[in-house]
């Protein structure tokens, strides 16, 4: 194994792991803020209980998101130093701005929110969770700006004096069509997870409390209130799930078109479309070397609609895109154009290709299946939201059933893994490039770092991430089972007495 391959595995493992916490953090922080707003407006304890219950789940998840995020920022320099040096002039800025604008805001205000119960005036305390939520979204926006540059490197040019890419137009980086489409796709995709999480946990709690009885048939007043609380939370989560699902699907369509424009090979490989075609593949089994299909089921014409907005129009196939004259290689978008960075770097790139050759196709089975699994899991999540809503209609409540509990665990995992597979697709589909059409991934690695060093760090991260996953899942389930917290008011609100107990302490 060489350092590049291990470094790629490391990036995959650490990024996908980190991104298990990101969608939950982004969506739950905002949804908890909404719950807390409803409590402040209604002063109904039900919503305070929900705020604290889901707030606690958010915090358990947040801690791991923070610590695994540090690795992400350091990893570029450690494993991909030539990439970092080469594009740092463009790529570094969003990362620095993310830390300066988003991370400071998020970490300061989440501390104020956790420890600020009863100490800050209510409205200011509410503002702290909104600021936390906004900061997590800003963080996503900066990272997507950086990532979109790798997919479609606009706003930069190659400087032969400094031997690197340099920023020429920051506005172009921020208006990158891939960036705009990705933000619109990623943010609702996060809420898909948050909605599913809130709904399925509430649904499970409801099955425990009501155990199949209609709410009107429950006699104990406390149980009635609890059933109502969870019914409300299920519906709230399910609606978030369904609405964000619709937005994710719509923006996914836009994103697909932006992708076809900038990275024709990615869409062709997502479809395992070996020859020019307009058919959307429902199922394609291809040779593993990615050269030809063996068996396919298709919807004629649909791919043209998804890619170009016109039913029956075609996209170029893998083989056309691949069989080009490598001596005069030039990366081109759908319209045969190049970004300034792609064209200015072309000569250096040709030297590399002359020396080392280049395999222009990504690993087709990975892109093809990741793309499909993403879509399938997303649809399953939305359907689960609809099923839960229908189930609760006419005052019906679910029964305690073992299979139901098992399914309810899978429901939030479905959109969560849809996120993972989406990223797997978009990053693997970018290959062989670390910056599309400019720098091949092989050239981005750290020239001075040995395979043994990278392997050591992969092993260390995998071990510690594995242990942390067990701890986190354990804590998460424990918190879920514990149910709604007691919210009896404390006597010490706004107390200046030094010896009054803290409203919250580690």
């Amino acid at each position: 194994m060489n350092a590049e391959l291990i470094a790629r595995w490391q990036f995959g493992i650490t990024t996908i792991y980190h991104f298990l916490f990101v969608p939950i953090t982004i969506s739950l922080s905002m949804l908890v803020a909404v719950l807390q707003t409803i409590w402040l407006k209604t002063k109904n304890d039900r919503y305070l209980k929900l705020t604290k219950f889901y707030g606690n789940l958010f915090l358990i998840n947040f801690a791991l998101g923070v610590v695994t995020g540090i690795v992400q920022e350091f990893q570029f320099g450690m494993n991909w130093s030539e990439y970092s040096r080469f594009v740092g002039d463009i790529f570094g800025a969003p990362l620095a701005l993310e830390a300066l604008i988003a991370f400071f805001m998020e970490s300061t205000f989440v501390g104020l929110w956790i420890f600020g119960w009863g100490r800050l005036p209510e409205k200011i305390h509410l503002a702290t969770i909104y600021l936390t939520a906004i900061a997590t979204m800003l963080s996503a926006v900066f990272i997507l700006a950086a990532n979109s540059f790798m997919q479609n490197p606009v706003g930069a040019t190659y400087n032969p004096q400094t031997h690197r890419a340099e920023l020429t137009d920051f506005g172009a980086v921020l208006t990158n069509p891939v960036f705009k489409a990705t933000v619109m796709h990623q943010i609702p995709a996060c809420f898909l997870v948050g909605g599913a999480l809130i709904a399925s946990i509430a649904f499970w709690q409801l099955s425990k409390v009501a155990n199949g009885r209609r709410t009107t048939a429950i006699t104990d007043a406390a149980e009635v209130e609890e059933a109502r609380t969870w019914r409300w939370a299920t519906k709230f989560g399910a609606w978030v799930l369904i609405i964000s699902g619709a937005l994710t699907a719509l923006s996914g369509d836009t994103m697909g078109k932006a992708m076809v424009d900038a990275q024709p090979m990615k869409m062709a490989s997502a479809e395992a479309a070996y020859e020019t075609t307009s058919d959307f593949s429902i199922l394609t089994i291809g040779k593993l070397d990615g050269s030809a299909p063996i068996f396919t089921i298709k919807v004629p014409g649909m791919l043209g609609f998804l890619s170009n907005g016109k039913w029956g129009s075609t996209i170029e196939g893998i083989n056309e895109l691949k069989d080009v004259d490598l001596k005069n290689y030039a990366y081109e978008n759908k319209y045969g154009k190049q970004t300034p960075l792609q064209s200015s770097y072309q000569e250096v790139l040709r030297d590399h290709i002359a020396k080392d050759g280049i395999e222009l196709t990504p690993i087709i089975p990975v892109t093809y299946w990741a793309f499909r699994i993403m879509i399938t899991l997303g649809i399953i999540a939305i359907l689960a939201g609809v099923v839960m809503l229908v189930w609760l209609a006419k005052d019906r409540n679910p029964k305690r059933m073992r299979w139901l509990s098992a399914v309810l665990i899978l429901i939030p995992l479905s959109p969560l893994f849809a996120n993972s597979f989406g990223w797997l697709f978009t990053e693997m589909g970018r290959q062989p490039w670390i910056v599309a059409g400019v720098l091949p991934t092989t050239e981005g690695v750290s020239p001075g770092v040995s395979a043994a060093s990278v392997l050591t760090s992969v092993i260390v991260y995998t071990l510690i991430y594995g242990i942390l996953a067990i701890v986190e899942v354990g804590l998460f389930f424990k918190a879920v089972r514990k149910g709604l917290p007691d919210v009896a008011p404390t006597a010490h609100d706004h107390d200046e007495d030094e010896d009054a107990p803290l409203s919250f302490a580690y």
Binding site: T68, L100, F104, E166, F170, P447, K482, P501
Partner: protein
Amino acid sequence: MFPILEIAHSPLTPVWFILIAVLWIGFFFLEGFDFGVAMLLPFLGKDETDKRVMVNTIGPTWDANEVWLITAGGAMFAAFPGWYASLFSGLYLPLLLVLLGLIIRGVSFEYRSKHPSSKWRNTFDWMATIGSFLPTLVLGVGFANFVRGIALGPKATLNGDFPVVTTSFWGLFTPFALIGGLLFVILFCAHGAGFIALKTTGHMHDRAGRTATRLGWLAALLMAAWAVMFNTMYAPANGTQHLLTWILAVLAVLLVAVAALLSSRERDGFAFILNGAAIAVMMAAMFVKMWVNIGFRPVGVPFDMWIASSSPYTLKIMTIAACVMVPIVLIYQAWSYWVFRQRISRDSIPSDAVHA
């Protein structure tokens, strides 16, 4: 080899060198006491309540303090991609240790209170302690090596010869580097004890004050040894710079000593500020040495802060962003310290042990 470059030197490059120094100083001033508090957990905390008092002095603010490091890293990436690339890839294993420490430490603060068992809590307390000790020690060793200058040599890439670190992992552990590492550990422990003294009342306050005094004197001794070695073995070639590193190093020694004296007289606030100032001055001395060479000794490959720097256009954008955002960040971070200004005592710790 890169050709001899005719790059116009942007006046913003030095500005960003200074800004990065400021970010590191901010990080060590703030996270220094967080590290110290966590390192002292097993030694100052006699029982569970003591430990909770200690952890809760930094509870609401440690996370934002750590962001100073993330921002320093991000700013190096954005303003000096060459610095970031050579440094982070060159010090691979030390950085892995730092990351490992930061991961287990960050988790332990959040998770320790989620389970009532003392075994659970002790485990996370030790993770906090080890996770604070590792980055402190490694960064102390690291910065001593920047003062000495880490050797760089050329390595071929598609884009020409790239400067890579040629000093081996074990080659980093010179006597000066070991003194540097030890100094960071003791100095931050003293800083942490001073912070606990400032933020608590009762027995914990008294005990922390005594610890701050003792560790403070020890830190002053180490700082003196560091100052002499710095200025005799690894002095800057330039006379003005050398004068400056002498002045700053001696000032750092004096500040630590006065802080120790003040904490013995229970002037907690002054002692804490002076100890923090000592950290800042010590860091400033090191960055004076790193001026232009940014902590490296390149052999056979040209490398300095001008070569490592981003383009003037990127620096301009970053400068505007920093001018707008840094004051805002400072204001709300200061506000969060103001909100949590109350001292904590054993009575402040709520009796309901679990918050899961």
